[in-house]
Symmetry: C2
Subunit: 199 residues, 2 copies
């Protein structure tokens, strides 16, 4: 998605070989015009999938999620994160390991909002090692819902989340795939492929 | 706002004299068409205020916030909640007391996204005792920004947050004001006023 990649090049801050800071437009401050186009793009890519629900996870998935759900004309459900859950009545829960924080946290959704009648599109802002996406897929399976696919704003192509999901046969649509953040530069996956073709 | 009140009457669950559950359309599952109209309504009410930023708080403020920001054509910033903050570099922080959880939590925003040039509209899903709104106002003051007003989806008129804010001269626009939840019924503030007029 051209608009997104331009924004990443213009405002993204490469903090290390594995960390890109995009808090000026995606996950702390949000650019609503960009988020609107992101939502529209997800809806376009999955419009033939008869989706009945969009599922995301608090907090930074909610912006792209609500716009995607608006264009798909279905409800958005966002999973909540907790370090530990005490009351789990009527909750579908899953445990997710955070490599960043090196700890487990629980994610949950009410069983009132996902059912065996649902075909669910997962939306999230980042895909790195795929742990959060796998947790959301686990919730969908526990609900007996069908998974339509996973829509990601920015995929870190140099981490293995995308590979893990695609090897399971899951459709993953990432609007930007980062091949590398080496030497402080964002290199997108298409550039890497073009480079390989030209060599 | 008629559409919102109809939805509250149809899907809201009165759990006690002070608690209304609206998780089927506002703060767990979200109805994007309704949230879109809510965002448009906030933008209409504050369009003459030369707003430069919308500020909300994770997680359930983000949906209404991003749509309001989209119609106002300004960025959304969402404050993050933490039980305690260790790293506070470049962060504006404030302490908020939660009556529900009976504990303090910290809210924060990066000082890169609020400045003395900004005129800020606060958006949140609920206004009860006003602690969260006062925390957000504190962040705005610390940033040296101007406060344009506060837009609330559902105000609990029987708690004193609205009174506290309005007595400070702050413009508060609530799309639905609940007068009472007694006997399992939602009574809106206008109905209460109409009742008083007819008496």
């Amino acid at each position: 998605m051209k608009l997104l990649k331009e924004k990443m090049l213009k405002e993204g801050i490469v903090l290390s070989d594995s960390v890109l800071k995009v808090d000026s437009f995606l996950n702390h401050q949000m650019d609503p015009q960009l988020i609107n186009e992101i939502g529209r793009e997800f809806a376009n890519r999955f419009e033939s999938e008869s989706i009945t629900k969009v599922l995301t996870i608090e907090s930074s998935g909610i912006g792209p999620g609500i716009l995607a759900a608006m264009y798909l004309q279905v409800p958005l459900v966002f999973a909540r994160k907790r370090k530990s859950l005490t009351l789990t009545d009527n909750l579908l829960t899953s445990s997710v390991y955070s490599f960043t924080k090196q700890e487990n946290y629980e994610i949950s959704v009410s069983n009132r909002f996902l059912s065996s009648q649902d075909k669910v599109l997962i939306i999230d802002d980042f895909l790195a090692n795929g742990q959060a996406a796998l947790g959301l897929i686990d919730l969908i399976q526990k609900a007996g819902s069908d998974l339509a696919g996973v829509g990601i704003v920015i995929e870190k192509g140099f981490q293995d989340g995308g590979k893990v999901l695609r090897e399971r046969g899951i459709r993953v649509e990432s609007l930007a795939i980062i091949h590398s953040l080496k030497e402080g530069n964002i290199q997108f996956a298409e550039q890497a492929m073009e480079g390989a073709i030209h060599e």
